[in-house]
Every structure is written in C-alpha cells, then in structure tokens.
Amino acid sequence: MIAQLFSLTTLIGVITAGIRLATPYLYATIGETLGQRSGLVNLGVDGIMLMGAYAAFFVTFKTGNLALGLLVATVVGGLLGLVMAFFSVTLRAEQGITGIGVYLFGLGMSNLLFRKTLGTVETVSGFPSIHIPLLSDIPVLGPIFFSHNLLVYGAFALVPVSWFLLNKTTLGLKIRAVGDNPKAADSLGVSVAGVRYFTEIVGGMLEGIAGASLSIALLNVFQENLTSGMGFIAVALVYFGGWRSVGALAGAILFSMVNALQLWLQVIGVRIPPDFAIMMPYVLTIVVLAFTAQRVRAPAALAKPFERGEG
C-alpha cells in the first residue's frame, strides 16, 4: 500500500490535482495580497468570488461565450471591489465589518439571482483543456503541467506579473508605501485614496476571476455557496504567504496538494479515518503558519483608515 502511495500514477495525480485546485486560491490570494499591501483588509473575498462565479456562469449559460462570461465576472468583481473601497477608504468604515457585509451580500445575492434566473443546477461547457503540441506529450511532466485550461495557466502567470508589479514598478512602490506609511506617501504627493481604490478594484477583479475559474473552467456548474468558504482560506493564505506573490503561490500549492493527497489516501485505502484525512490540509496550513509567522511583517498600516493631517 505504501508502494502504491509513491507510484507514478499517484504522484502525477496528486500534483496535477494540486495545480488545478490551487487556481481559484491563486487568483483570490493575489487579489487580496494587492489590497493588503496597500493597507486594506477585505474579508469579503468569498462573497466577491460567489458573485463572479454566478455572473460568469449565467452569461456563459445564456450566450455560450466564455470570454464574455469571464469579462462580466471581472467587471462584477471590480464593482464589488469599488464598493469595498468606497466604504473603507472614503467612508473610513471598519474594514472587518465592511468585508463581512460584502461577503453576506455576495452570498445572499448570488443565491437569489441563481434561484430567480436559473432555478436549478445547470451545466455549461467551460474553458477546455489546452493540448500544447510536444509539451503535453512529455511523459510525467506533460500531464502535470501541460494538461490544463487557460484560467489555470493565467493563475500561475499572475504570480510573476504581480511580483513584478509590486517590486519593480513605481506603482508597486507607491502601493507598498501607502500600506506601510501612508502619511509619508501622502506628504510626497502620492494619493493614498487613489492607490487604495486601485488595489481594491484590481483585487476585486481578480477575486471575480477566481469565482469564474470555478464556475466556467474547473467545475462548469453553479450552485448555492459554490465556493464553500474558499475566499476565507484565500485571506489566510495571504498571511501564510507573507504578503508576497511567491508566498501566495507556495501556500495555495501546499494547501491544494495536501487536499489532493488526502483524497488519494482514501482511494488507495490507507487506513486512516476520513475525518483525519479531511483535516490534514487545514492542520498543515496552521502548523506552517505558526512557524513562518515570526519571519514576516504585515504592512504597517494594515486595516488602518487614512485621514490627512490626523495624529
């Protein structure tokens, strides 16, 4: 049985599944990382994902146009990001409460729209797996890395893109400055509100895409509470990843692979109680978080609204 655990099929299966499952977490975690680097905590990720998932599904179901579905999900996500930014930046409302409000809104509204417009569970044909000539045919590596759909590749491409944005561009410098020392940034002429609106809207767009990656790429269905709490895991993964894109990647992959592994353990009949197997990804994430927490520092102005001339 142990030999079976380390067989090639199992290994390929676990890694491939880990990559696939990591996709929605990557979009959502990187979206949330952007916002948090500028000092905004958004606990509404799951709600934004649900609205994105519903919007993408509904548009694709009605028009059959996947690109349009993805676009609408992005716009819906961006709008909810805008709402979040309006409350946290302009009205300086308590961010935790606002985020929970956005979550509840997304959960309730996506349910309501689902009932009124679809009524029952339907399916669409989502983004197909892309067969890349030569690359997809490489043994072992082919199925692991080159058997996925467009949104999976997009999620992984987002890691270097967001790293570059945050660390190598003027905009990235502004985002980090606003998140660490908004007063100083403001005195140098950086619009704190402008930067925060930007990160929250772009973050919302990515969270909308995270939802779409579920409803029109990985699962191709919509159901009430489709994300079942993924958005909250994504928020945890931001801390896990130490507010860095690469950290987000590591966290999303670790969590997803352990999740894939526990499914395999059950299938090949390793005699551990299923309840324990199901706990594994969560326990492991918390353990790693406990060990890494001291190393990294949160953005200094995280969750603190900025008011010019205050303090």
Partner: protein, 342 residues
Amino acid sequence: MNTKRGILFLMVLATLFLLVGCPSAPSPTPVPATPTPPPKPFRVAVVMPSAINDLAFSQSMYDALAATRNKLGKDKFEFAYSDGMFVVDDAAAAIRDYATQGYDLVIAHGSQYGSSLVEIAPDFPNTSFAWGTTVDTFTDKGINNVFAYEARSEQGGYVLGVIAANLSKSGVIGVIGPIETGDAKLYVDGFKAGVLATNPNAQVNVNWTGSFSDVALASEAAQTHINAGADTLSGTAQMVVGAIGVAKEKGVLWFGTQSDQASLAPDIVVACQVYDWTVVLDEMINLIKGGTLGGKAFAITLANKGLTIKYNPGYTVPDDVKSLADETIQGIVDGSISVQVE
C-alpha cells in the same frame, strides 16, 4: 476607525436582505392568507438545510410536498418552507416560528435538527413535528408529538451497485460520500454491497469529502477515482454536481441518489435512486387527522415505492442487466435479499 459606519452598512444590508427575501434569512416563506373558508386546509411547514433545487436531499422533500398539494388540492393542503438553513440555530428559530403560527405539522428535514426539536416539541404539545432522517421519535424522553422518518437508501444503493458492477469494464468503481453518517453512509454501504455481491473481484474505492456542499472537492474526488482506474462513479449529497461534471467530461458512468440527476449529464447518467416522501407524508397526515401527533417512525423503501430506481431515458441499459435489477428489487422487497450495512 469608524465602526459606526461599518455597522450602519451591515444594518442597511440586513434590511436589504429582508426586503428582497434573502433565501438564507430565517423568515418563513409566507403562505397566501385565505379568507377563512369553512374547511380549514391542512398546513405543513418544513425547514431544510440546503436549497429546494439542490437536485438532492432538500429537493426530494420539496417535490413531495408539491406533489401532495397537487393531489389534495390547494384548498385542502398548504405548505411553507425555509430552505438553506444550514445554521442549526436559525433552523431552530424557524421551527419555533412555524409552531407558533399554528401549523398542523412542522417538519425538521435534517438529522442535525434533532437536539433543537427535543427543546421545541414539548412547548407545543398540540402541534405535530417530524424529524428526518432518523428513527428516533424521542418517546423515551417522554415526548409524544414527534414522528421520525428515514430513507432506507442502502436498498436502492444495492440495486444501483448491481447495475454498476455489470456495466463497469475496469472493475474499479468510485464512490464519493459527504460525511460518514445518516442516509449517505447507508447509501454508500448498500452500493458497495451490491457491487461486491455481483462481482466479488471488483474494487470499490470510497472517498469522503467531509462536506455536503464542497463542489470543488467533490469534483477533485471524482478526478482522483478516475485516475485510480474507475470507469463508473456514484455519490451522494448536493455537492455531487461537481463530480457529475467530471464524469461527463471524462465519459465515465454515473449513478445518482436522492433526486433524478439525468438532466445534468444525459449521456452518462445511467440511473438514479429517487426519494419520494409522499408515502410518509400521507401516513403522517392521516395519523394527525386521527389525533395521533407522533411517536411513530416511518421509512421510505423499495417496497412502499418511496424509493424508486429511475433510469435515464438517454442511456440504454442492456435488457439482461435491467431484468437483473428488477429481480434484485423484487428480492429486496420480498426479503430474499437482505442488504447488510456495516
């Protein structure tokens, strides 16, 4: 920090929810008031954990209530429901609300609602309650107004297992379950027993996801089964829509339970065990009208037609397999086959 604005925002949202009638709010769905006609209709209220259109557990009860209303007529039978009540406290509040409003029968459609009913039922001795799926009517606690109902889902599971074993070419069959309890466990055990009784060399792999609603994990569980060589899948709970999607994409067979799922994947759904609670509802209504408010446990079975095997018209099952399935049903009904569950 401006906590006040945040709270205000939440309150505005809450108001909005109430206005649009958010499905997850614990407010009961109102029944149109009737201008006191002489024969009072029989009024039933039900509280359910998931949505009435989940193609699974909650839908099975909703469909039964709708069928009963069609049969008896709107002037003789009314029902109201609260669905999406996965939070037990909210469900308890809704159950109490319905009891207060004088419904003749209040159904707590979810095994997680049992402890709430123990609290509520004694406060309304003239209201009848029903709790499923379970066999416990709380008579040992001195409560006499609670009926219990369950689905002997292992029976249909066994029949589907027999069909699956005959159709599987690889001899590897995957089953996706939510949490190892209640009718999900019965179904999985029955299905497994049916497969192994038909083909003792078959391999049945079972995967529990730990959730009734995690569609993504159910989809990944299906993928895992297929990678492990399965060419036939089954599963239970509302999350299986994710698994059916994978089965459809990979072209492996699917066997469903609780509700008819053929609409999701007309090419690969072979058959489903469909729950029909109307037999149980009929019996409870008759007892209540005769003055008995509880203390009796019911079950839907293949014998009382509360469980039926519904073939997908889009998928052709060979005649010899179909007649074998019919014999199996007959065997379970007359007792010559007894389905052993672990």
